[in-house]
Each structure stands twice: as C-alpha cells, then as structure tokens.
C-alpha cells in the first residue's frame, strides 16, 4: 500500500488527484494465476482419471478381490485394508499426538530440553516416508517380531510418520486458546487437569481435529512405508485380525500400474484411484462434520 502511494501519480484535474492502481491490478492477476494453476491442474487430473475409470468402476470392481484378468479384478481387500488401517492409525495417533501436545504446551517448562524436543518434532515432520518405512521394518518387524506387512505393523509405522504433524497442529490449537480462559479457570481453584479438560481441550478440539484429519489424509496415500515393511503386493482376502497381512489402495494401484496389460494401466488403475479419492474425501467430510459439531458446541 505505502509503496503504491509513494509511486502514485496525482492527477491535476481532480480535486484530490488519483493514485495509480497499476500494481494493484497486476498483483491481483498474478495472485489469481497462482490460484488457477493449482485448481486447474487438479481438475484436469481428476477429469482424466474419472474419464479413464468410466466402465471400470462398478459394483463388481468394489466387491471383488484382485484377479489376473483386468475384467474380473477388484479392489475389495485393499479398500477394506485401507479403511482398517485408517481407523487403527487414528486410534494410535489421536491420543498420543494430543497427549504429547498437551504435555509440551501445558506442562513442560520452556527450557532447553523442551526446545530441543520441539525442534526435533518439526524435523521429524519433514522426514521422507521411506525412512519411516525402514524404521518400521527394523523396529516392529525385526525387533518386536510383529510380522511382515501385517495390519499392526503398517498401522504403527504410518502412525509414527504422521504423529509429528498431529502433535504440531494440536500444539498450535492449544496455544491458540486465550490465556485469559486458563486464568479464569485457575482463579476458580481448578487444578491443571480440570483446566485442561474443561477449558483448554474443548476450545482447542476443532483445531486438533483439523490437524488430525489432514494428517490422516496424508496417511491414506502412503505407499513407501508399506513397501518397506513388506506388505504383500496383492492380498486376496480382507484382514480379519491385527496380524493379518494387508494391502492398501495406493499399494494395489502401484502394483496394478506395473502390469503389462493396458486395461490394467488405464482402466483398473483409474478406477482404483477414483475409489481412493472418494474414500479420502469421505473420511475428510466425516471428520469435518465432527469438527463443526464441536465448534458449535464451544462457540455458542
């Protein structure tokens, strides 16, 4: 703004003069272009996949196990595997992530150790997923002997991967609770736990849920860690225990994309990609609904 006024030229004819808007307008179009690049490419991608999936994505595809023939192949085991994995990851990361965030924000003193932990959580959030896969392989498969490619190992490994994101976003949500609210609670003779439970958590919950949703969105698309922990390329049955070997949709897509038949490379893969996106959007919308309900309850 100030830059613009400095460079603005005044027009002698009008009483106040006019100030040039060239930069204003130019910046507006640059920003618009930046927005469009993202939206248009996403739309093209979705359209492309959707068109390819036509004729392939049907009830038979959703309810059948994989098959060597592209016309009989289905995604059912991977679909169930992905959903089971999501639930397990949510169950693991939510309490751990929120617990860690509460500790760091409400209990830990801002000393050197806390800062060190804080920096490392931020770094962990940026570690490539394949490295977490290696950790999962070494720790859960090797050391704890929980089996190659089982639901439990996959859940633990991907939970570790998204835990830093859940912790960081939860911390931000907790930090955003006004201090006056905590003071009011402490001033009433509430203990720390009472304050956290009654005042801090309800107010931070929408933000915490948003962070967890975003993290789960990342988790559902992960393939590299699954490959590293030895998840089978193709699974024909649905998982029936924590120790069942599982496949997940991105893993199945990756496998199909390597098949020689073009029907697999285009039709079946596209159908699977659409299924993955729909499940992803469904999980997001359920979580957003829960979040909005919480928001209404706390802000009424």
């Amino acid at each position: 703004m100030s830059v613009e006024t400095e460079n603005g030229e005044t027009d002698g004819e009008s009483t106040f003069g006019t100030v040039s808007r060239t930069r204003d307008v130019a910046f507006r179009y640059v920003a618009l272009a930046a927005t469009l690049v993202g939206i248009v490419s996403l739309a093209l991608l979705l359209a492309n996949v959707a068109v390819d999936a036509v004729g392939w994505l049907d009830w038979q595809f959703l309810t059948s196990p994989p098959h060597p023939s592209p016309f009989e192949a289905g995604i059912f085991p991977a679909l169930v595997g992905s959903i089971a994995l999501m639930l397990l990851i949510a169950l693991i990361t939510f309490p751990l992530g929120v617990g860690a965030a509460i500790y760091l924000e409400e209990y830990a003193s801002g000393g050197l150790l806390t800062r060190f932990i804080q920096i490392n959580i931020a770094n962990l959030a940026g570690v490539p997923s394949v490295v977490y896969g290696l950790l999962g392989l070494g720790l859960f498969v090797g050391l704890l002997n929980l089996g190659f490619g089982t639901l439990l190992v996959a859940g633990f490994t991907i939970s570790l991967l998204i835990l830093p994101i859940v912790i960081i976003t939860s911390q931000e949500a907790i930090r955003a609770v006004p201090d006056s609210q905590r003071q009011a609670s402490y001033g009433m003779g509430a203990t720390k736990w009472q304050t956290i439970r009654n005042v801090v958590l309800p107010r931070a919950m929408p933000g915490i849920l948003t962070g967890t949703i975003l993290a789960l969105g990342r988790a559902i698309g992960e393939t590299a860690p699954l490959i590293m922990i030895g998840a089978p390329t193709t699974v024909f049955g649905v998982p029936n225990s924590l120790f069942s070997k599982i496949s997940a949709m991105p893993m199945q897509i990756y496998t199909w994309a390597q098949y020689p038949e073009t029907e697999f490379q285009y039709g079946v893969v596209a159908a699977a990609a659409v299924t993955l996106l729909v499940v992803f959007l469904a999980i997001n919308s359920i979580a957003i609904l829960i979040r909005n309900k919480y928001q209404q309850r706390t802000e009424q």
Binding site: P178, S180, A184, G187, M188, G189, A190, N198, Q300
Partner: protein, 287 residues
C-alpha cells in the same frame, strides 16, 4: 479524569483537614468510622516479588481488613496487579516470578511449603480486567467453580443466588442455557463476578474489573462491589482514582518501582495524604 482530579483538589482546599487527625475529622463519612476495629484477613509482611531480575514489589507491608473494600491504586507498572496476584498465588503460573517475604491469609503464610495454591484459590475468588466467561452456557459458567471444587449439592440454588447477588439474575433468568458470550460486556463482567462468588469464597480479588466497560456498566459494577463488601472482603485494583474514592474503605497507593507508598483510610488518602508524592499523584501532578 483531569477535571475530576481538579475537583478533588478543590474539595481538599474547601475542607482543610488538620494533619494526622484527618481520621477523626471525617468521622461522618461512612467508610472511615468503621475501619477502627476491623479484623485483618490478609497481611503482607516485607513482601518482595521479582519477575526474573526485575523487582515488581519492594518490601510491601499492608494489612487488609475483613469485609471491607480495599483499593490498590497507582500508575501503570507500579506493581498493584502483581500484589493482587500474589495474594491467591496466580503469580505461580508465571515461571519467572519469585516471591520473598510473607503473605498471611487468616494468619497463615500462603507461601509456606504446605500450602496448596489450588486450595488457596478456592477460598479467594478472582475477577479479571476484561470479562472472560467460558464459551459455555450462563448456567455452566456460574456453576464452573462449584463443579471443579466438588461442591455439587444444591448447584441450582447456588447458581441462582450468585446471579442474584451479581445483580444479573433479572436480566438472564430466562436464558440460562444460552452462551455467556452472547451477553454484553457489562453483563459478562457481572457473570464473571457471579462465577467468582458462587462457591462462596472469603475474599474477592478484582483486577481493574471495570476498565473495559462503558460508564453505565461501570457504575453497576461499582454499586455491586459496595454490596458485596457486606459479605466478602474485596480487594480491587483500579486505574481510576475516582472509582477508588467512591467505593473503597481503605486505599493503598503504589508508586513506580513496586513501592507501597501509603496505605490508609480512603478519605485520608484522598483528602490529606501523608506523603507529598501521593498527594502529587492524586492531584494529577504525577503519574
């Protein structure tokens, strides 16, 4: 502010009070004649508070009488809020804060090792500068203290009584389930007062409770404070000297550097202070 301060000076000139006998001379004032046989409920002895290396209070000695309104006045950063927060140990929440000396509540030093600050705060209610109701219903706001303190019998009755005492019941009686945040600023502050008195504390600390409010809401709060002093000991921090003069029985004047310069009956402080610095502050020459 300035005009009323001048008024104060005029008043002082009009009724000259002879030196130390100011107390007896103003015996017709309701606040002065009561303060002789008061029991002390809070007493600071050589109290120092530090924030890190900075000293916020310098050896404060003060005895606050029971069931009276005691005002703390002084310029910004003089330590009056710090003193208030050292009474119910809210300063404990600030990592850098350190307290030396004694602060006695009912004769017991609240900084002794065996004192639980949470238990202490249950005997001392607090109202803050800007209204800070929880994003809960009006009812739940008032019931909050009862809930966390485990006083779960007759909650309904206690909530209604607290709202009545806070002069808010008539305005909100049919909307107790609605959010406390939907009230006006003045109503929110009275809600916070109701919340503070619902568990029936012995002392009510108020940290500039009217500074964020308009004049009408301010005057409602002031009336309320005078009424509350029938049952509670009220310690109020205020920027507003007229407010202190209007509502308090005793006044403590803090000046820069966290020094308690003078503590006496409010009439005495405003009409004939011992200290020249206090007189300068009150007449607006300084601060």
């Amino acid at each position: 502010m300035t005009s009323s301060e001048t008024e104060q000076t005029d008043e002082q000139n009009a009724t000259p009070t002879p030196g130390t006998d100011g107390l007896t001379d103003s015996a017709d004032d309701w606040s002065a004649d009561q303060s002789t046989d008061d029991r002390t409920i809070i007493e600071a002895r050589d109290l120092d508070v530090y924030y890190g290396d900075e000293q916020a209070l310098q050896s404060v000695d003060v005895a606050i009488p029971e069931k009276r309104v005691t005002a703390m006045i002084g310029p910004s950063g003089c330590g009056k809020s710090t003193f208030l927060r050292s009474i119910n140990r809210m300063n404990d929440l600030i990592d850098a804060a350190r307290v030396e000396g004694e602060l006695l509540f009912d004769g017991k030093n609240v900084y002794d090792d065996d004192v639980d600050p949470v238990a202490l705060r249950r005997k001392i209610g607090m109202v803050f500068q800007s209204p800070n109701p929880f994003p809960k219903s009006i009812y739940d706001n008032v019931a909050y203290g009862l809930e966390v303190q485990g006083k779960t019998d007759d909650v309904d009755e206690k909530v209604h009584r607290a709202l009545e005492r806070a002069a808010l019941l008539d305005e909100v009686e049919d909307q107790l389930d609605e959010s406390g945040l939907e009230l006006s600023g003045g109503q929110q502050q009275r809600l916070c007062i109701a919340r503070a008195i619902a568990p029936d504390p012995e002392v009510l600390l108020m940290d500039e409770p009217a500074s964020a409010l308009d004049p009408v809401a301010t005057s409602q709060i002031e009336d309320l404070i005078e009424e509350l002093a029938e049952d509670y000991t009220v310690v109020i921090v205020t920027h507003n000297m007229q407010q202190a003069a209007r509502i308090s029985d005793r006044t403590a004047v803090f000046l820069t550097g966290g020094e308690l310069v003078e503590f006496d009956d409010t009439t005495k402080i405003f009409e004939n202070p011992e200290s020249q610095r206090v007189e300068d502050y009150i007449t607006g020459k300084f601060g």
